[in-house]
Symmetry: none
Subunit: 217 residues, 4 copies
DNA sequence: AATGAATGAGAATTCATTCAT
DNA sequence: TATGAATGAATTCTCATTCAT
């Protein structure tokens, strides 16, 4: 008569193939909130609506949860990034604008921010995590961006800068924006305003802070 | 007559007024290496050449060590930053260049990098730390920088950008440079090359990536 | 037409009236290998080609498996031993020789060794086991052997020894032989050589180590 | 007025160099009583009058307790056995009598029995234990005994038996005597009577069960 | 001031057992 | 009958903290 067993306490839900993902979701939330070390497996279980033992049914150890989390997040990232950057032709500033705007949009959803935050936080304690992230994401994305910049220089779109170092100038500001907000709660008055940040940054990035023919001229 | 055992390993040291600082030094090293949670008080004691009990003579708890560490690091930072930025007159690009170069120099010494790394890592687990750092450092430094930018705009040195967001564009690249190196071991071939980074970044920051009258014109 | 899956691995078995015995077989192997405490019910199930739950269909608890095992092994032993010793007439040395040779043959099959090994190992933790084994086997066999010896003495076949203590001299060497091999891997060069052991032992047992008219004479 | 702090609860006894031995004593008792797996570290601590944590101050793990126990027992055994057997001259039956009587005396003290019992019981679960015991004790003692027998044969004291197998005939009865008593509670009416056992056994061992010129003649 | 033995709360992990299907 | 997902009590081991000396 009533919805059969929705919300019926813990014991015995069947059809368990979604279970691992639910556990990872719970783990992610708590790792973000309190860090890996300070999160108890029992809390993860509770948040996932399971018992401690059940978590171990799906993950061999607490650390395996962290790995699972990173693995789950890592593959899509690199793929989507590379798909966007892919084989672009023409003015690289167009792609750079697109990518920064895409990142801004992506990070406006706190869920998308969770994994990077977690990785940054725990990576020092789990070197394999850093290695995996580097291998799967950074080592694949960075060379593509460098190539993009280099081509832009060759084709006369960009000033002859160091492509590798320039990546820091392109992405760094976004990262700091996020870090200030997430770590210290410092953000522009009206909220994160990723749009405004990107606009402001793109102006500077492409045309410089200096007034074209101001006092510096 | 007898500086017989000055500077000779942890053991053999009388005259203990420097003891708390030595404990903090040891704690800092270990917190950086393995994180706060994974560092044992006993290890700190050992590295400081003391016994566990003695550590508790100087610090009420493990957490107090973290606080002490941040407190010790925090005051000089803000002061020195403010002293540099202070009441500067004229082209703000000169100060910005100076500050970035100073930061670059400072971060070339790994010891100077330790505290920021530690704070970033542990701050989520200890909100008071974030609060203190924000209060003592960020809330005092950021407004000054904003003022500097604003004045530069008013005086016609700088393009009319958003001062607050522009700080991200100025500092962010340095932060990313450090993060890539520290967390993922990614750095330019010849080493950190802070000088080159800053040069490259200042060019972009002030004059933009775009070729003055290239294809974009 | 189709005895297709008789005797073919654990899976694929219908007709389950032998199920409990299969579970016991699996349990016995594992209890021997790793001991009762270190054997997981799940492993027993796996080795028997069943699921954990099914084991509990046949045995109420892990301990019940141990009991079942001992019960299954205990009855035949005493019966066969008593049948052999039964009501023997004449020179008891003939029976003793026969029994030792039978035991030697029996223990040459490792499967026959499994239960005694298990009982010895776990009996301290499960006193009921010891009690059962004693009641069902030892208390029935020992008196018969004592009677045999006593009769041999009375009838002038054997030296006037203590029948009860003499049982130790008859059986002990076999037990030590097995123990050295099973526990420490110590055995004669060519293998267990139960035959040679029994021959050597019977010579000593009946005629003594001393040279009949050697230096001792 | 009263003995100051004898029997004064747990906290803080100094002069701790006897601690490891006390812990081992407690562990031995409990391992004997309930087996290694069924003994909780906390129980060991309690019996030793310590807290759980303190046990781990002296032993790195529960298994290390077992190792420590065996190590402590193993060295004296081999040494004392070898000292007795050493380089004996003359009739080997004298040494054999001496050794068996010594073993009987030794095993009359239950404390001396504890370690062999423990080793037999747990050795299957900890192969390194078996290896150590074999290496340190058996492999050193057995060859000496074999040599003794061989010399006795060569010198005409003993019948030409297989020295290696004969060891089983010499020692096995004692072992069975102990096993029956310890495992099944079966012993002669008046107590263990090791003396009588050894006397009875030596008679058989040296002169045989057969009546010198009885019906067998 | 300094020590280090001792404590005990707390966390990860295991596994016998239950039960809806 | 049979399954295997789920449970949670139990156990090992760690480590911050205390305190007699």
């Amino acid at each position: 008569m009533d919805t059969p067993d929705r919300e019926r306490g813990p014991k015995f839900r069947r059809r368990a193939e979604a279970r691992p993902d639910e556990v990872l979701d719970a783990a992610l939330e708590l790792f973000i909130e309190k860090g890996f070390a300070a999160t108890r497996v029992e809390d993860i279980a509770k948040r996932a609506g399971l018992s401690k033992g059940t978590v171990y049914l799906y993950f061999a150890s607490k650390e395996a949860l962290l790995e699972g989390l990173v693995r789950r997040a890592v593959l899509p990232i690199a793929d989507s990034a590379l798909a966007t950057l892919g084989n672009f032709e023409g003015d690289p500033r167009v792609v750079i604008s697109m990518v920064l705007k895409m990142l801004a949009a992506r990070f406006s959803d706190p869920r998308m921010l969770a994994m990077p935050k977690l990785i940054f936080r725990e990576v020092l304690g789990f070197p394999e995590l850093a290695a995996m992230y580097r291998r799967e994401v950074l080592d694949r994305v960075i060379p593509v961006v460098e190539g993009l910049i280099r081509k832009g220089i060759d084709e006369g779109y960009l000033r002859p800068v160091d492509p590798s170092l320039t990546i820091r100038s392109i992405i760094g500001p976004l990262m700091l924006h996020v870090a200030l907000a997430e770590v210290f709660g410092i953000m522009p008055e009206g909220g994160m305003s990723f749009d405004k940040l990107v606009d402001n940054h793109l102006t500077i990035l492409f045309d410089g802070l200096s007034v074209p023919s101001g006092p510096s001229a």
